[in-house]
Symmetry: C2
Subunit: 107 residues, 2 copies
Amino acid sequence: MEMSHSGDELARILATLANPHRMRVIAALAHGRNYVSALARELGISRPLLQLHLAKLEAAGLVTAAFELSADGKAMKYYDTVPFTVTLTPQSIALAARTLTTVEGDS
Amino acid sequence: MEMSHSGDELARILATLANPHRMRVIAALAHGRNYVSALARELGISRPLLQLHLAKLEAAGLVTAAFELSADGKAMKYYDTVPFTVTLTPQSIALAARTLTTVEGDS
DNA sequence: GGCACGTGCTAGTTTTTTCTTGCAGGTGAA
DNA sequence: TTCACCTGCAAGAAAAAACTAGCACGTGCC
């Protein structure tokens, strides 16, 4: 289920998804949740870099984070995808554009 | 009608749409075609800046350009939207991510 | 000619994003 | 204690995107 987004929200979501690393993160998490160190190994990128991308994905509301204690008592941060459906058409873009807040000169 | 995109194509489309100016361009052209100088005035941005954004929109296949001679013989470049429908879900992103070409270390 | 309108292009600046490096803390097990 | 694993954060470098300013060309009209 997906309500309509404001122009700024939509822009943020699109900007967030428009990145190869973040697309791969979504793809990896679609298979099942995972914690960041394991995910970094799976994707072959450094952990700080992955944390940067995860933060952006979370800020856009596309993934969620949950702390969990592993069997041996370690604090693991698990990430999972948030189900979403966004349909893009010239009309939907036009509709969203009406609520953009970016300041510029008046007409 | 919209066939499925490669990961790189999708990333380019999303990156192109994720910009306030370009969203407004799509919105303006959805009302009807226009030429660049008039469009720049309507949007309140400079012509070189608009040309930059139009070039990106055209490169992503979201708008088309057509030259036309006005009544008084001036060469005008008219832009129009290309109808498109892109549906974004975790699954569609995951599918597209499999065809990304960005090089990185193997598993 | 000079002005108003259309087009294109390029060089350089500013801003944003991406990425690396390196350090801090914690736990449990040998 | 030392090692292996987990987490967080921040400073600085590198790369990409956005934007400005200014020039070129063309036309028709006064």
